[in-house]
């Protein structure tokens, strides 16, 4: 209890009300009704990253100029930072809280910066020296397959990747034009995975359909053969000469094969493949017109790609649907119908409805159909269920066949590189659970980022490190008084004139200064970055800093006023009611 002073006379009393000694005995923490505590929460960027990158952590490392550390943090979750930094559609940036303040962080540019930095320093993820565990077969060397291979190798499995084509990379190699992703970058990141001991057997054709018995030396199989059968339009003339399929066309371009093209090319479709095709056509010195049956709002291609395509001279005609490809002396007469938008369909987009008697003709020399891709089911082993055009799996990627898992475009309609990487990672975890006799559903539930579906394999491997509440920090939870407006750093793009000359990468990597400045714009939502606000504001001096920890609350004296909670700019401090 308090040691209250006793004075006998006025003279004995001091001039001011001051204690005669330290007040340490007075444990004011006993007055507390609510308790602040440090608790990292989930930033919206990571929760939105299909590949499960720990975005805030790696950006914080950049701001400390520890670029290699940043690269290693990405590599914990994702073997392809250089690729994602270039081609990912960065849903993280759409969810970035800074977007509600001024402009979102250029996360993709920072990811690319650290990847290129590490490549420049010839950094490699070290190969494990531990004796290999079971053997795993992976069918397909695209982003899903190689992501799975990478994580399994880090989990000490002996991994063999079977690739029917003579070069590895799958859709990364033949589906993405070089002006978006140079082949050197792809080769670099693939060779990093091989350096971990992953064997890629190129040009290997397994039985068709695949027989599981042929792979009996492997204790688990992951099938990620992708979706690369270009969808047809089912219109007369589409099988004619000079009519190509989008993915086939891109594959030829990517393999530097000659494609016979006239001057005027019609590209049919509104997705990213259609835009890639049109922009490639322009780079071959020809004129490309995209025909899309709905309007601009419904177009599934990424906005930035569309903008760049238009800059480069690609024409886009909306609400146009080809119904017949007429041949005439090498020239095609493309018969089209004009469309109008009707009611919303099951995809939530307004359904295009033909306007009767609106037929018109377009004179072109080639038609390239890029109306989506389907899965080649004929190749798949018996016993795999399918529904609505995709292979049906459990949440962990397991199929109806024991020990056989599937992922990537094969199992999802969200066909992006990042989704494929996430899917491969999840399969690696599921395979480990399967072989180690663990409950994979539960394991996945434990490592979801936010509400999922993104997940962290780092947490699977290190359940006690970097703990994070699954609550996703909203903009309203930040204290933006501590942030100043700052312009987003942009990667420089080559001029349109330069761009259309060939297939060289069109954007360049951020410089170190720009990357560092951009990283400092990050709010670090939910993650303490030792800004010291709590330490400065605590009226009771009850925020402690010390060796071995960044900040702690001294509960002997903390009165629970909540100022630290309020002044924390990033929501890294929580309050809970004091247990009574």
């Amino acid at each position: 209890m308090s040691k209250q002073l006793q004075f006998k006379s006025l003279l004995e009393m001091p001039e001011i009300a001051v204690s005669v000694g330290s007040m340490d005995w007075n444990k004011t923490g006993a007055w507390r009704t609510q308790q602040p505590f440090y608790e990292d929460k989930t930033p919206p960027c990571s929760a939105a990253c299909p590949a499960g990158n720990d975005i805030v952590s790696f950006i914080q490392e950049i701001s400390k100029e520890n670029y290699e550390g940043a690269w290693r943090l990405i590599k914990e979750e994702n073997p392809f930072p250089a690729i994602c930094g270039r081609v990912c559609f960065h849903p993280c940036e759409l969810k970035c809280n800074r977007g509600s303040f001024d402009e979102p962080i250029a996360i993709h540019a920072l990811e690319r910066f650290v990847a290129d930095f590490a490549a420049g320093q010839r950094k490699k993820i070290e190969r494990t020296t531990e004796k290999g565990r079971e053997r795993i077969a992976i069918i397909g060397s695209g982003p899903a397959g190689m992501s799975c291979a990478f994580h399994l190798a880090k989990l000490h499995y002996r991994v063999t990747v079977f690739e029917s084509f003579s070069l590895a990379g799958g859709v990364l190699r033949f589906g993405i034009p070089s002006y978006r992703l140079s082949k050197d970058v792809l080769d670099q990141e693939l060779s990093d995975i091989e350096a971990l001991g992953v064997e890629i057997r190129r040009g290997i054709s397994l039985s068709n359909p695949l027989r599981i018995e042929d792979l009996k030396d492997f204790q688990a199989i992951f099938i990620a053969t992708g979706a690369h059968q270009s969808r047809g339009l089912s219109i007369p003339g589409e099988k004619g000469r000079g009519v190509y399929r989008g993915l086939d066309f891109l594959k030829k371009i990517n393999l530097k094969a000659r494609v016979k093209l006239g001057e005027k090319i019609a590209v049919i479709g509104g997705g990213n493949t259609a835009v890639d095709v049109a922009r490639s056509v322009v780079r071959l010195g020809k004129k490309a017109t995209i025909l899309y049956r709905r309007s601009k709002e419904e177009m599934p291609a990424f906005e930035e790609e569309i903008t760049e395509a238009l800059e480069e001279g690609v024409k886009i005609r909306y609400l146009v649907n080809p119904i017949h490809i007429h041949q005439k002396d090498g020239l095609k007469r493309l018969e089209c119908l004009r469309m109008a938008l009707g009611e919303k369909d099951e995809s939530g987009r307004r359904r295009p409805v033909p306007i009767p008697n609106s037929n018109f003709f377009l004179e072109v020399e080639n038609v390239i159909i890029a109306a989506g891709e389907d899965i080649e089911f004929s190749y798949l082993p018996k016993g795999m269920e399918r529904r609505e055009g995709i292979v049906l799996t459990q949440r962990d990627g397991s199929t109806g066949i024991k020990g056989v898992f599937a992922g990537g475009d094969l199992t999802s309609n969200q066909r992006t590189v990042a989704h494929a990487i996430g899917s491969g990672k999840k399969a690696a975890m599921a395979i480990d659970c399967h072989l180690r006799g663990k409950d994979s559903e539960e394991a996945i539930r434990q490592v979801l980022i936010g509400e999922g579906p993104s997940l962290s394999i780092f947490r699977y491997l290190h359940p006690d490190e970097r703990p994070m509440n699954s609550h996703v920090v909203a903009f309203e939870e930040l204290n933006t008084d501590y942030f100043e407006l700052a312009k987003r750093k942009r990667e420089s793009k080559r001029s349109v004139k330069e761009r259309v000359k060939g297939f060289k990468e069109m954007t360049s990597t951020l410089g170190e200064d720009s990357a560092s400045e951009e990283a400092k714009r990050c709010f670090s939502c939910g993650t303490c970055n030792e800004c010291e606000n709590c330490y400065v504001f605590c009226p009771d001096g009850s925020v402690l800093k010390g060796a071995g920890f960044s900040h702690q609350v001294d509960y002997d004296f903390c009165k629970g006023c909540g100022i630290c909670f309020t002044e924390c700019p990033r929501g890294a401090i929580s309050l809970r009611e004091e247990a009574r």
Partner: protein, 397 residues
Amino acid sequence: MSSGGNLSKGGGEMKKVITGNQAVAYGVILSRVDVVSAYPITPQTTIVEELSELIASGRLKTIFLKVESEHSALAALTGASTGGVRCFTATSSHGLAYMHEMLHWACGARLPIVMVNVNRAIGPPWNIWNDQSDSLSQRDTGWIQLYCENNQEVLDTILQAYRIAEEVRLPVMVVLDAFVLSHTSEAVEIPSIEEVDSFLPPYCPDDFIDPQEPKAFSVIATPDYFMEFRFKVQRAMERVPEVAQKVNDEFKAHFGRGYGAIERYGREDAEVLLMTSGTVTGTSRMVIQGMLKKGCPVGGVKIKHFRPFPSKEIHETIKGVKKIAIIDRSLSPGVGGIFAQELRAVLYPHEEKPQVFGFISGLGGRDITPNLIEEAVQYTMDHDRPQEEILWLGLKK
């Protein structure tokens, strides 16, 4: 301790034509103040500008704390002052009102902070001009209040204020009139820093926050002890007249000038006395001189100390005086002039009480002209007792 800013060294006094607010800044610089915290408000702003510019330029090694309000300005200084350093702030009108809570704190914690208040009316109606209502309505917060007549007195009073404050451990408010002093230039003798150093030693308190020896300041005092702490405040206030006189004597020895708690002028055998404070005194001196020439038995009293109220000095000076005209540049609604009220209370125990004629004039910056002052003195001479408790001077009919 801080440097003396841009002052010439060793050159003795120099004379400069400066505004009252500049005189304040010189006073602060010469006092080697360690921490300034202030929030700008017309008509005080140029004080803060002057000091912040000097500090920003590096010529003055004082810490300037930027704050978001007057309440915070004084709160910050209570912290700094408890840390054992010399502190200064300045404000006016609404700003002073906003400090109210911290005014009590500075006194209760016995912090020798010096503040300048530039007298300005409190709205509404909105008004930025001279009026003493702001400082006088803070009379019960335990601050010593010293009113100034001219720019020289402003500078000198700041130097004296630190001596008094640090000796009795009470905060001091130095008060000057808006615009009439704050923005009006006069010739002012600026003492050399060496001379001021020899008059005003560094501040070395006994109790201050020391991280090596942590203590709790301004802790709770139970009903068993609270009253004793207030008693000690009162005792400290009671010491002020004696300390102020000693300080003023020393000041005179150093600089050849001085200011009493009150100052009597005019005829020694005056029957009618005119009491004023602030710049009205300057005008009053001229009016009284003119009336003396006409043979009127009049004199004047300048009241410099308002807190503590100089009752002893007033008792001594009113012997033989029959009537006192007192001009208030403030109004305590429902009572009248605040100086008049204080004066009546002081006179009550006096056996031969002079009649007090309480005039209210010059509110919200209206000029108190020589004619108005003469009218007040004449009225007092012409009447045995005031016909009304409040005599409004210059009020529109």
